[in-house]
C-alpha cells in the first residue's frame, strides 16, 4: 500500500499546478463550510441567548389556550393557585431547573398626569426574574440595574415611551388597568429605570413588582400568567420540556390543562434558526458538488492522459485491482489534502475571527453581540469525512475505467 501511495503522490505531483488548483478548490469549499457553520452557529447562539436570557427563558408554562391569544394578554386565562402549586411542585422535582419566574402580564394605561398611553406590563418577583433572565440589567439604559429597580412601588419604563413622553428616572407615573371582573384600578409608581427591548429601543413593555400588579388587578389570590424557566444546561431544553409536558399537560379536575412551550415554540426566531441550519446544509451540498466535480475532472484527465502508461503496467502484469487502487488512492489523496488544508485554513480563520472579536449591534441597541465563532470537532470530522468519501466516489468511475482497459488497446493509444 505504501508503494501505491508513493506512486499516487508522484502522479499527483506530475501535474503540480492542476493538483494544487484542485486541492485549493476543495480546501476553499471546506473553509467556506467550516467558517459559515462557525459564524452561523455563533450568530444563532448569540441571538438565541439574547432571546432566552432577556425575556423568554428556556421554557414557559401557560394555561392551555393562552399562547393562542397572547397578543391580547387575557387575564381570564391566568393560572390559578391550585395549578400554580402543582407547577411549583413539579419544578422542585426537576434538578435541571436553575430558576423559575412567575409573571403576570396585562395591558394597562400609563400616565404621566400630562399624557397617557398604552403599556404592556410584566409583573415579576425581581429576584426570580433576574435569575431567569440574567441579561435583563443590560437592557436598562438609565437608572437602577439591580433587582431593587423592581422593588414594590417602582417601574421600569420602556425607552420608547420614556423618550416620547419625556419621562426621567425618579419621575412619578400612574398605571391603570382593568381586572378580569371589569373594574378599573390604578397605582402610582416611581420610575426606577428606562429599559429598552431585547432588540433595541422600541416596544411598550414595562416591568413592575408582582405584588403591585396583584394590587392594581385586585386579585383575591395569587394568579399568574406564566412561569418562565431557566435550565442549567441549554441542551436539556427538549428533554426537560417533554418531562414537564408529561407531568403537567394532563389536565383534569375541571380545570383547563397547562401548556409547556420551549423558547423555540414561542419565538419566531426559531424559524430563522432553522433557516440558518438549512443554509449550512446547503453549503455542505455545495461542498459535495465542488469536490465531486473537481476530483472527477482531475481523475478523468489523469486516466485519459495516461492510457499508454496504464497499458504498460497492465502488460507487465499489474492486476486490475491494483490499477484500480492506484487511481482511487490518487483521488482520495486529493480529497485528504484538500480537507486537511481546508481544516487548517478554516481553523486559522475562525481563530482570527475570535481574536478580532466580530460584533453585531442591532439598531441602537445597548446590547452588543460579540460573535465567538467556534466549530465542533464533530463538524470538522463530518466535513472532512464528507470530502474524502466524495473523493472516493468521484474517483471510482475513472479508476474502474483504467482497471478495465485492455492492455493491447491501451498500448496502441496515441
Amino acid at each position: 500500500m505504501v508503494n501505491v501511495v508513493k506512486i499516487a503522490v508522484r502522479n499527483l505531483l506530475r501535474y503540480t499546478r492542476r493538483s494544487l488548483l484542485t486541492v485549493s478548490l476543495i480546501a476553499f469549499g471546506v473553509v467556506f463550510v467550516l467558517v459559515f457553520v462557525a459564524m452561523a452557529g455563533s450568530f444563532k447562539e448569540a441571538i438565541v441567548g439574547s432571546i432566552t436570557d432577556n425575556y423568554l427563558g428556556h421554557l414557559q408554562i401557560h394555561r392551555r389556550g393562552y399562547v393562542a391569544s397572547i397578543e391580547s394578554l387575557p387575564l381570564n386565562l391566568n393560572i390559578e393557585p391550585a395549578k400554580l402549586a402543582e407547577i411549583q411542585q413539579a419544578l422542585r422535582e426537576v434538578p435541571e431547573v436553575a430558576g423559575a419566574s412567575e409573571r403576570i402580564k396585562f395591558n394597562a394605561m400609563f400616565s404621566t398626569f400630562v399624557e397617557t398611553t398604552g403599556l404592556r406590563v410584566t409583573a415579576v418577583y425581581p429576584d426570580q426574574e433576574f435569575a431567569v433572565c440574567p441579561k435583563l440589567p443590560t437592557r436598562v439604559a438609565q437608572g437602577d440595574r439591580t433587582p431593587a429597580a423592581l422593588a414594590r412601588g417602582k417601574i421600569l419604563v420602556p425607552e420608547l415611551l420614556a423618550r416620547g413622553m419625556g419621562i426621567k428616572v425618579g419621575a412619578t407615573v400612574v398605571v391603570v388597568a382593568t381586572n378580569k371582573d371589569g373594574s378599573v384600578n390604578g397605582k402610582t409608581l416611581l420610575v426606577s429605570g428606562i429599559i429598552e427591548s431585547a432588540t433595541g429601543p422600541g416596544g411598550r413593555d414595562g416591568y413592575i413588582h408582582f405584588e403591585d400588579a396583584m394590587e392594581i388587578l385586585r386579585m383575591p389570590g395569587k394568579e399568574i400568567t406564566e412561569v418562565a424557566i431557566r435550565l442549567r444546561d441549554f441542551g436539556q431544553i427538549e428533554r426537560v420540556g417533554r418531562a414537564l409536558r408529561e407531568r403537567l399537560e394532563g389536565g383534569g379536575g375541571g380545570q383547563a390543562a397547562l401548556e409547556v412551550h420551549t423558547w423555540a415554540q414561542l419565538s419566531p426566531f426559531s424559524t430563522v434558526a432553522r433557516l440558518i441550519d438549512m443554509m449550512a446544509l446547503f453549503m455542505k451540498v455545495m461542498l459535495i458538488a465542488i469536490v465531486l466535480i473537481s476530483v472527477l475532472n482531475v481523475m478523468i484527465m489523469a486516466v485519459y492522459e495516461r492510457v499508454r502508461e496504464i497499458g504498460t503496467i497492465a502488460a507487465i502484469g499489474t492486476l486490475p485491482s491494483r490499477i484500480l487502487s492506484l487511481f482511487l488512492v490518487e483521488g482520495v489523496l486529493l480529497g485528504v489534502a484538500g480537507a486537511a488544508a481546508g481544516v487548517l485554513a478554516g481553523a486559522a480563520i475562525i481563530l482570527a475571527l475570535n481574536v478580532w472579536k466580530v460584533s453585531v449591534r442591532f439598531g441602537g441597541s445597548l446590547q452588543l453581540f460579540v460573535l465567538s465563532p467556534r466549530i465542533d470537532l464533530f463538524e470538522v470530522l463530518v466535513a472532512s469525512l464528507m470530502v474524502i468519501v466524495v473523493s472516493v466516489v468521484a474517483s471510482v468511475q475513472p479508476a474502474v475505467r483504467a482497471s478495465r482497459m485492455e492492455p493491447i488497446d491501451a498500448l496502441r493509444h496515441v
Binding site: I7, R10, I313, I316, L319
Partner: protein, 258 residues
C-alpha cells in the same frame, strides 16, 4: 562484467498460475507451442485476418526474430504469445499453460510471472526513477520483500550498465539508457520469455548494437528466451532463427548461427 547470479536462483521464481512451467526451461524444452493460430479483427466493419493458421514451437533459450512487411502479423503474433490478446482460433501454450483459457486477471498474473516486455517506445513510468522502474514489477506485480528487491534490481542495473544512473527519471535518460532500463525491468521477474516489439527502432546505430548485444548476453547467461518482432537488420543479423511472416502466414524459416 559479472552478470546476474541472482537471476539464476531458481527457488525464488514466483509460482506461475494454472500449472505454468515454473522455473527456467532447460535448453531445448518448448517454451511456446502455437498451433494453427488465427486472429481476425473487425476494423470499420471490415473483417481483417491478421493471422491465418500460424504454427510455431519455440525452444527455451532461443533468440528468434519475426520479420515481415508492415501488416504481416508480427505484432499480432507477439501480442498473442504475450497473453495481451486472445487468438480467434488455434491452440497456444506458453510455459506449459494453455493461455487461451486465462481470464483477464489470470492473464495479468501469468504475464507478471512468466513474460517480460520490451517496447519500441521504452514505456518507462515517468514518475519513477530508473531503479524504481526496474523494481516496479517486483513491488506492484509480485509483492517481493524489499531486501530481495533491492539486491536483484541493483544487480540488473549493474548488468545493463545503468547502476550509476539509477536515481534518474526517464526524462533525464537517453533513448539507449531508457531501453537498458526497460530490458532490466523485463528481466527482473526472471521470466521464461521476453517479447520485444521493435526494441531498437528508436535507437541510433551504435546504441542499437549495444542493446542487442546486451539482450544476447542476458540470453546466454540467464537462458531467457527472446522473441522479436522487427524490421531491424541488426536484430535479424543477431537472431539464431528468423521467421518470415506475410499476410498473416509464416512463409519462411531461416536458421542462423550468430
Amino acid at each position: 562484467m559479472k552478470l546476474l547470479g541472482v537471476l539464476r536462483t531458481k527457488g525464488q521464481r514466483p509460482a506461475p498460475p494454472q500449472g505454468a512451467g515454473g522455473g527456467a526451461k532447460a535448453q531445448g524444452a518448448t517454451v511456446v507451442r502455437a498451433t494453427d493460430l488465427t486472429k481476425t479483427y473487425a476494423a470499420d466493419g471490415v473483417e481483417v485476418r491478421a493471422l491465418r493458421g500460424v504454427s510455431v514451437d519455440v525452444e527455451a533459450g532461443s533468440f528468434i526474430a519475426f520479420i515481415g512487411p508492415s501488416g504481416s502479423g508480427k505484432t499480432t503474433l507477439l501480442n498473442l504469445l504475450g497473453c495481451l490478446d486472445k487468438p480467434s482460433s488455434g491452440g497456444l501454450e506458453v510455459s506449459g499453460t494453455d493461455v487461451t483459457r486465462l481470464d483477464r486477471r489470470q492473464a495479468a498474473a501469468f504475464r507478471g510471472a512468466q513474460i517480460g516486455f520490451v517496447f519500441q517506445s521504452f514505456n518507462l513510468i515517468p514518475v519513477l526513477t530508473a531503479l524504481e522502474n526496474v523494481e516496479y514489477p517486483l513491488v506492484m506485480v509480485q509483492d517481493r520483500p524489499a531486501s530481495e528487491r533491492r539486491t536483484r534490481v541493483l544487480e540488473l542495473l549493474e548488468a545493463v550498465g545503468m547502476a550509476d544512473q539509477r536515481d534518474k527519471r526517464p526524462e533525464q535518460l537517453s533513448g539507449g539508457q531508457k531501453q537498458r532500463v526497460a530490458i532490466a525491468r523485463a528481466l527482473v521477474t526472471r521470466p521464461e520469455l521476453v517479447l520485444a516489439d521493435e526494441p531498437t527502432a528508436n535507437l541510433d546505430r551504435e546504441t542499437a548494437y549495444t542493446i542487442i548485444a546486451l539482450m544476447k548476453k542476458m540470453r546466454d547467461e540467464v537462458g531467457t528466451t527472446f522473441l522479436f518482432a522487427t524490421h531491424d537488420t541488426r536484430i535479424i543479423g543477431a537472431a539464431e532463427l528468423v521467421y518470415t511472416l506475410e499476410d498473416g502466414q509464416l512463409t519462411g524459416r531461416q536458421e542462423r548461427r550468430g
